[in-house]
Structures are given as structure tokens and as C-alpha cells.
């Protein structure tokens, strides 16, 4: 024990409980940070892979799978002029698809068509920009065959997650963007949703 006191160097307390504890903490920390990073990396990387699948669809072919084992396809491209936002919308709004991009809610109208087209995405990745949208902002949607539609934001609201009427069909061409609220919440699992409704103007 005395040796440890006289030699503060590495070997003597090399595998002491303190170091093991510190190591465990460091491992846990690295793992958590990596998980968080992985969520953001997936979100960014997938959009690039989808971009090439999309250009294939634009060229007239069928919408390809962005990567061989993907179980979703891009159905639209959403851009916000002037904000540098360009996102590829996937066809199936299940939790797995949402890791890779915004997704169209099955059962609602196709983006760009008459009726209420609903798109959902994560609040901390793809749809983090929704907090900056305000009425009269414009959103462009490009359909699968290059058809362009422009929407203008009509209203922004916060609703409870049971308020499924925001998914209800409409006669007029509408675009409804939904994400979780509040944006900067730390803990996942909120009951509130941030809803942006936009009317087609062209």
C-alpha cells in the first residue's frame, strides 16, 4: 500500500476500483453519446441515400428502395425556399421509417393531390425547422413524377395526440405537417403535437 503512495504513477493503481468506475462511466457516456449521434447520423445519411433513389424515380423508373433492405420508398420531396430545407418524404409512417426521414401518413391524401396530405417527422431531426415556420411561409412539394405544388402556411397549433381530427380528409388541397412538442423537451414521450396546416396556392 505504501508503494502506491510513493509512486503516483500509472501501474500501482492501474486497476483500482476508482479507475474501473471511471472506465464504466466513460463507457456508458460514450455509448449514450454515440446512440444520440447515431440517431442524427441515420437521419442525415439516409436522406442522402434516398436522394439517389429519388432521382431514379424522377427519371421515370419506379421508385427504388433507397438501400437494399429498406422497406420504404420516397414519395415526395419537401422544400422550404429560403431556409435551405430539402427533405425526402417516405411512404410509410411507422417508427422505423421516421428514423430516416419524414413520412406520409397512410390513409391521408397523397402529397400534392386534393385532400388532406399529412406528413410526420421527428421534432429533433427532420422537422426541427417547423418551430420557425409561421403563417404565410411557403412550402414546396414535389410529387413522384415531378409535379410541383406550392403551399402557404395557414395556421400553427398545438394539440393533444388524441386529436386525430387533424388527420381527417378535406375537400381542399391541404398539407398538414406534424411533429412532437415541445421541441426542446429532453424526455421523449410527450402527449402534445405541433401541427402546421398549409393551403395549396399553386
Amino acid at each position: 500500500m505504501r508503494a502506491m503512495g510513493t509512486d503516483p504513477g500509472s501501474r500501482a493503481w492501474g486497476l483500482s476500483p476508482v479507475l474501473i468506475f471511471a472506465l464504466l462511466l466513460a463507457l456508458l457516456g460514450t455509448w449514450q453519446v454515440a446512440s444520440a449521434g447515431w440517431i442524427h447520423a441515420k437521419a442525415t445519411l439516409a436522406q442522402h441515400l434516398i436522394a439517389s433513389a429519388w432521382s431514379g424515380a424522377r427519371a421515370g423508373g419506379p421508385a427504388r428502395r433507397p438501400w437494399p433492405w429498406a422497406d420504404m420508398r420516397p414519395v415526395a420531396r419537401l422544400t422550404v425556399p429560403g431556409r435551405g430545407i430539402s427533405l425526402y418524404v417516405l411512404d410509410n409512417a411507422d417508427p422505423r421509417a421516421l428514423a430516416f426521414g419524414p413520412a406520409h401518413v397512410g390513409g391521408t391524401a397523397a402529397p400534392g393531390s386534393a385532400g388532406n396530405a399529412v406528413i410526420v417527422a421527428h421534432r429533433d431531426t427532420h422537422f426541427a425547422f417547423l418551430r420557425d415556420l409561421s403563417p404565410d411561409d411557403e412550402i414546396d412539394v414535389e410529387g413522384a413524377h415531378g409535379a410541383m405544388s406550392r403551399y402557404r402556411v395557414r395556421e400553427v397549433s398545438v394539440v393533444d395526440k388524441e386529436e386525430t381530427r387533424v388527420l381527417e380528409p378535406a375537400d381542399a388541397p391541404l398539407l398538414t405537417l406534424i411533429t412532437c412538442y415541445p421541441f426542446d423537451a429532453v424526455r421523449p414521450g410527450t402527449r402534445l403535437r405541433y401541427v402546421v396546416v398549409a393551403d395549396r396556392i399553386g
Binding site: A12, L25, A36, G37, S157, T164, D184, A185
Partner: protein, 690 residues
């Protein structure tokens, strides 16, 4: 040794210190995030519902609430129901309340009253657009008004304009219905919750888009769904039910299927009321009763004279076959296709019931039968590509497949129905499709057309699951499928009800039913043709004639023997409500022709005529009541959907969850790394001191 002790102490201190800081930081993080949520709806208190309202400070205002009282009077086999909805506005401004509520699928809604203070205003029946214009005009003029519209034959909306601050408006609606009578038991159902309905995008059937295009009742009309309240708000829209039965003969056992009730018998009447007088409207109410032994009717006829017309309601119960007779009814081998709904709305208790029902169905198969099982949600999945013989081995494998089913996704019924009703027939087999679902769909008409077009010689039997199945869809689907509808509201009922269903569908008890009216009387009946009757089912026919009706003879084939019964109208010729029931049956029959391809431009005027004559709410007519004097400011009226309770046991639905744990993980991770650094430094310093 001292050094060792000091060192250990420090390590322990560092360890607990680290954990303490970690816990403190985590708590701080959680508290911070909780605060940021509460701040957005910090007006919310337990049991208060809020609507978004930008004109109010803080952005939210309390939504109106509705308390419901239901009084049902049963006379013979007709029930007259009075529903009182009290709209209460807890807020500080004038609001318009819109309440979506279900009624039994054959309800003939014919009366509306609006009570403001002591004044009572009676509603009038108008064509739907005219009623809406009247209502909107009254609303714009600041008058109190009420409008009752039919969304679906079993789903209505009640809009009430200008409910004053802290004010209550009482709306009274009345309807008539004929009771269901089966297996010697009367059944009365009052729906109290609406399962959210799934409307598939565009045409659900890609290869036949023209013929099967979803046809809304009106151009540009959409299905209004109830707004649901968040969980944990306690009793929201309370309901009180009281029933009085005057059967004319002694009543036997009375059972409330899903609610606790108090039952009293006095002077030939049986009174039933809920024990807790305020129940939340989150599961359907069902009451069944039998008549005292020997008092059960074999045949009954009720008549009512209105103007030049004589209306009649006939019920005939064919005698139950004895065991010897049943042995003679030849049992044909069956090809049974079991379809189960595994959509998100089935999650929870419903799925448990559905699985139990499937297992029960598998149990009843015999070696000579053939069968297949399929599930559907957003898509469809079959157990095997075609039906196979019901060997013990096959049944065991199907059972395992069923056990692994999970609920999730949309409710896209069309592909499953198309697969099951594929027009094929296996010679020598009776083809029966058993369809287990909560019927939570909004594209009913599209599905009815599909059933009509593809049924062939198959029979479709619907089994309703959950605490609030869509009774309209189930009943009609079974009618178009020439089968029957069975409703299961509780896991405990699965065995009994599925057993009864399969016993029933072994063979029809009465076939080729004909009704002979007195000579020379032109009679219009609904249903126009009486279907084959299965075990325990009565003949139930509504008729209208221009001349008084005499004795009527009902004939049919029982097994291979001819059978007949004669009915004479009672001397007391006025049973209230028979005319309305006939009119309701006629409207239903006219609406059914739409599913068979009739032109809506011809059907609509016919429905409007009948509905206006009999003062009935229909797809094309509404009841509207308007106060004469304006009592409210004409500007700034807020509209609020009254929140309905979700059906008990319903866990599906809701908007998708769109947050990730990334931020939380990042913070926890950084914190753990920092702690690691601190612990390392502390460790070094300790080592140096020692």
C-alpha cells in the same frame, strides 16, 4: 492501514458523490422538461377540457361538456327512447357545441326539442341543406339553435349555437326502434362510445376502381369523427340510463351485459336503472330479457293507422326443431374462411376477444370441413394460400398461427373481403365466411358494394368485437352477406356467443318464407323478401297498406315439411310508432339500393319524401330548432367539438410519436463522461495524498 481506510472512504465518497450528482442532474433534467410541457397547457386542471382559442389569454378555453340522460320505454316489441343532452359551457364566452354521438343502427329519429330556461322549442324536419341554412342563419342572427344531422345511420351530430357563459341548454331527441328478438331473448342496445373509424385513402380496391369508388352520401361531405378527450381526465360526458319494460306478459330474467344495474318489478312493469347514476360514456349498454316460461310469443302483429295508411309490424318465431328433427337436417360439410381484423383499433382487450373467438371457431370444425384463416390491417396476410381439410394437425398449426397475431396498422378491409369472397365454390361444401372485427371503418358503402358484387353462394357472418363495435356496418354487412351479426362485448361471452353462432349456422330452420296478405290489398313490405331463418331467429316484417289489414298467413319450409301460421291484427288497432318503423325500414331499403348500384339522384328524392312525411332524420333530412329571439352577440362565436370518451380498452389510434431520445441520451452521455473525468481526478488526488 490508515491510508487504506482513508482511501476506501474517499472512493466511497466519490462513488456516492458521483451517483448523487448523477441523480440530481437527471432530476433537474426531468424537472426542466416537465416544466417546459406544463407551461404550454398550465391552465389544465384535472377534469377540465380545453379548446384552442387565440382570443383568450394563454390560448386555451374550456370546452363545453354534455351530460346525457336516456329514458327507454319498451311496449311489446317496440322501444321509444328519449335522449336528453345537456350542453354546459364552463367558459366565459358564447360557444357553439358540436357533439358527435352514436344511436342504435335502426333508430328512427323523429323528434327534437330545445329547452332554454323554461321555454321549449320543437324542432322541424327539413331537407338537409335547408336545415343547415336555417341553422346557420339563426346562428348569424345571434339566436340559439339546434341541428341534428345523420352522419351514418348509427352516428349523428348535434350542433347547438350560442351556449352562453356558464349556461346550459337542454336538447331532447326521441327515436323509435323495433327490438331484436333471438333465441327467446329480447335485446336492447344503447351505444355509448364510438370507435375511431379508419377511412382508407382513395379507392381501396386498385383493380376495380370505377365500380367500387367510395361514394360519400353527398358531394364534398366528409365523415365527422368525434373528438376524443385525453386520458386521465376522469368522467367526462356522464350518462344516466333508465328503462321501463311493459311486455304485456310476465317478464323472466333481465340481464345487463356490461353495466351494474338496479332492477325493480312493480305492477306489470320492470324498471331498470344504472347503479351509479353517472356513468362515463365509454362502452355500449346492453340489456337482455326473456319472457316468463310459456309466455314467449310464437307470433305477434301490431298495427297503426295514420291517415289513409295502415301500418303493420309482424313477428313470427318458427318453432325450435327437436333433437330428432335436427338430426334429420342434413349437415353439409362447410368451407369456413375466418377473417380477423388485426388493425391498431383492435389492440388490447379487443384482440384477446378476437383470438378467443377464432380458437372457438377452430374448435367447432369437423374432419369433413375445410378451412383457412386470414388477418388484415393495412395489408392482408393469409395462413395458407387456399382452404385445407380440417385435420387435427392443420387445426393445431392454425391455432399456433393465430396465437402469434399482433394488432397494429390501418383497417383496410377490402383486400381481405376480396380474397375471401373470390367467387370460387368447392362443390359439396357450404361456404361460410366468418368476419371478426370492430368494424372501425368509415368507407362502409364501398365495402357493402364489394360484398353485394362478390358474394356468390357464400354467406358472410360478422362478429363484432370490443366495447363499441360499429353496429351499422356489422348488421348491414351480414345482411348483404346473407348471414347474421353476432356481437361480443366481453371475453366471458366468447364461448357462449360463438357457440350459439356455429350451432345456428349449421342449417337454416325455415326456408322459402312467404307472406300471404288478405286478397286484393296492395302491400309494401320491408324486407321485400324474407331471408332464410337460422335457429332462434324470428321473421320480422314491416308493412304498409292502403286498406285495413285482415288476417295474414306466413308460410315456409321447415326441414322438408311445409309450415304455416296465421296472424290476426289485435282489436286495439293503434300501436304507436309502427308507421315510423316502417318508414325507417323503407329508407334503409332505399339506401341499400345505392350499394347495389342505383343512381343517387333517383334514390335521394324518394328518401326525402318518406322522411319528410314521417318526420324522420335520414341521410338527406335533418331536424332543426331555432329560438325566435336573439339572445347572443352575433360575433366571435367559437365552435368546439365536445370531446367523447374513447371506447373502454381502446389503445390504438392517436397521432404518431415523433420524438427521439437523442437529446436525453446526449445529455446523459456527456454527464457520464464528465463524471468519469471527475472520478479519475479525485482518484489521482486521493492516491497522491495517500
Amino acid at each position: 492501514m490508515q491510508a487504506v481506510r482513508d482511501f476506501s472512504k474517499l472512493i466511497i465518497q466519490a462513488f456516492f458523490g458521483g451517483i448523487g450528482v448523477a441523480v440530481a442532474m437527471s432530476l433537474a433534467i426531468l424537472l426542466l422538461s416537465a416544466n417546459s410541457q406544463a407551461a404550454t397547457i398550465n391552465d389544465a386542471k384535472a377534469g377540465t377540457l380545453l379548446i384552442k382559442d387565440s382570443s383568450v389569454d394563454g390560448g386555451y378555453a374550456p370546452a363545453p361538456q354534455v351530460a346525457t340522460e336516456v329514458a327507454i320505454d319498451v311496449t311489446g316489441m317496440i322501444a321509444r327512447t328519449r335522449v336528453i343532452q345537456v350542453f354546459h359551457n364552463p367558459g366565459s364566452g358564447f360557444v357553439e357545441g358540436v357533439y358527435v354521438f352514436p344511436l342504435p343502427e335502426k333508430a328512427a329519429v323523429d323528434r327534437l326539442w330545445m329547452k332554454i330556461g323554461t321555454r321549449v322549442i320543437e324542432g322541424r324536419i327539413r331537407e338537409k341543406e335547408e336545415a343547415r341554412r336555417t341553422y346557420e342563419k339563426a346562428k348569424a342572427e345571434g339566436k340559439k339553435a339546434a341541428l341534428v344531422e345523420q352522419q351514418r345511420p348509427n352516428l349523428f351530430t348535434n350542433a347547438v349555437a350560442h351556449i352562453g357563459p356558464n349556461d346550459a341548454i337542454e336538447i331532447r331527441i326521441e327515436y323509435q326502434q323495433a327490438l331484436a328478438y333471438e333465441m327467446g331473448t329480447y335485446k336492447l342496445r344503447f351505444p355509448l362510445a364510438v370507435t375511431p373509424r379508419y377511412v382508407p385513402a382513395a379507392a381501396a380496391i386498385p383493380d376495380e376502381p370505377k365500380a367500387l369508388e367510395a361514394q360519400p352520401l353527398e358531394d364534398g361531405e366528409e365523415l365527422v369523427q368525434p373528438a376524443y378527450a385525453p386520458d386521465g381526465c376522469g368522467g367526462l360526458n356522464t350518462v344516466d340510463i333508465a328503462i321501463s319494460i311493459d311486455a304485456g306478459v310476465p317478464v323472466g330474467a333481465v340481464t345487463s351485459s356490461y353495466h351494474e344495474t338496479v332492477i325493480e318489478k312493480a305492477g306489470g312493469r320492470t324498471m331498470i336503472s344504472l347503479t351509479k347514476d353517472q356513468e362515463e360514456a365509454n362502452r355500449d349498454f346492453e340489456l337482455t330479457w326473456t319472457l316468463a316460461p310459456g309466455a314467449a310469443p310464437q307470433a305477434a302483429m301490431f298495427t297503426q293507422t295514420r291517415g289513409d295508411n295502415e301500418y303493420a309490424l309482424l313477428m313470427v318465431v318458427p318453432p325450435q326443431p327437436t333433437a330428432a328433427e335436427r338430426a334429420q337436417f342434413e349437415r353439409m360439410p362447410r368451407e369456413t374462411i375466418l377473417i380477423v381484423d388485426t388493425s391498431g383499433s383492435m389492440e388490447g382487450v379487443s384482440m384477446t376477444q378476437a383470438k378467443a373467438a377464432l380458437e372457438m371457431a377452430l374448435d367447432t370444425l369437423r374432419g369433413s370441413d375445410r378451412f383457412n384463416v386470414l388477418e388484415f390491417n393495412s395489408g392482408m396476410r393469409t395462413w395458407l394460400p387456399t382452404a385445407v381439410p380440417a385435420t387435427a394437425d392443420n387445426i393445431q398449426r392454425a391455432r399456433e398461427w393465430v396465437r402469434k397475431l399482433r394488432a397494429g396498422g390501418g383497417t383496410n378491409m377490402a383486400p381481405a373481403l376480396m380474397f375471401a369472397l373470390d367467387g370460387t365454390e368447392t362443390p359439396g361444401y357450404l361456404r361460410q365466411v366468418v368476419f371478426i372485427t370492430d368494424g372501425a371503418v368509415g368507407n362502409e358503402d364501398e365495402l357493402f358494394k364489394l360484398i353485394v358484387q362478390r358474394l356468390g353462394s357464400s354467406r358472410l357472418f360478422t362478429v363484432g368485437i370490443g366495447s363499441a363495435p360499429n353496429g351499422h356496418f356489422m348488421t348491414k354487412a351480414a345482411q348483404f352477406g346473407r348471414g347474421t351479426f353476432t356481437s361480443i362485448g366481453d371475453v366471458k361471452e366468447v364461448q357462449e356467443k360463438m357457440g350459439a353462432l356455429f350451432a345456428k349456422i349449421e342449417a337454416p330452420v325455415l326456408r322459402d318464407v312467404q307472406i300471404r296478405w288478405p286478397n286484393g290489398t296492395p302491400v309494401e313490405t320491408f324486407p321485400p323478401r324474407v331471408p332464410d331463418l337460422y335457429l332462434g331467429e324470428p321473421v320480422l316484417v314491416a308493412a304498409a297498406a292502403k286498406a285495413p289489414l285482415g288476417t295474414v298467413v306466413v308460410t315456409g319450409l321447415r326441414g322438408n315439411q311445409p309450415w304455416s301460421v296465421a296472424l290476426t291484427p289485435p282489436p286495439d288497432r293503434d300501436a304507436a310508432g309502427v308507421g315510423a318503423l316502417w318508414a325507417r325500414a323503407k329508407i334503409a331499403s332505399l339506401m341499400d339500393t345505392l350499394a347495389q348500384g342505383a343512381d343517387v339522384n333517383q334514390v335521394r328524392p324518394a328518401v326525402v319524401n318518406v322522411a319528410l312525411e314521417h318526420h324522420l332524420v335520414s341521410a338527406y333530412t335533418s331536424l332543426v330548432a331555432v329560438d325566435l329571439t336573439p339572445t347572443a352577440p352575433t360575433e366571435g362565436l367559437k365552435t368546439a367539438m365536445v370531446k367523447a370518451s374513447l371506447p373502454q380498452g381502446y389503445v390504438g389510434g392517436g397521432l404518431p410519436q415523433t420524438d427521439t431520445p437523442a437529446t436525453l441520451q446526449l445529455l446523459l452521455g456527456l454527464f457520464a463522461l464528465m463524471s468519469a473525468a471527475i472520478v479519475t481526478m479525485l482518484g489521482r488526488r486521493t492516491a497522491r495524498i495517500a
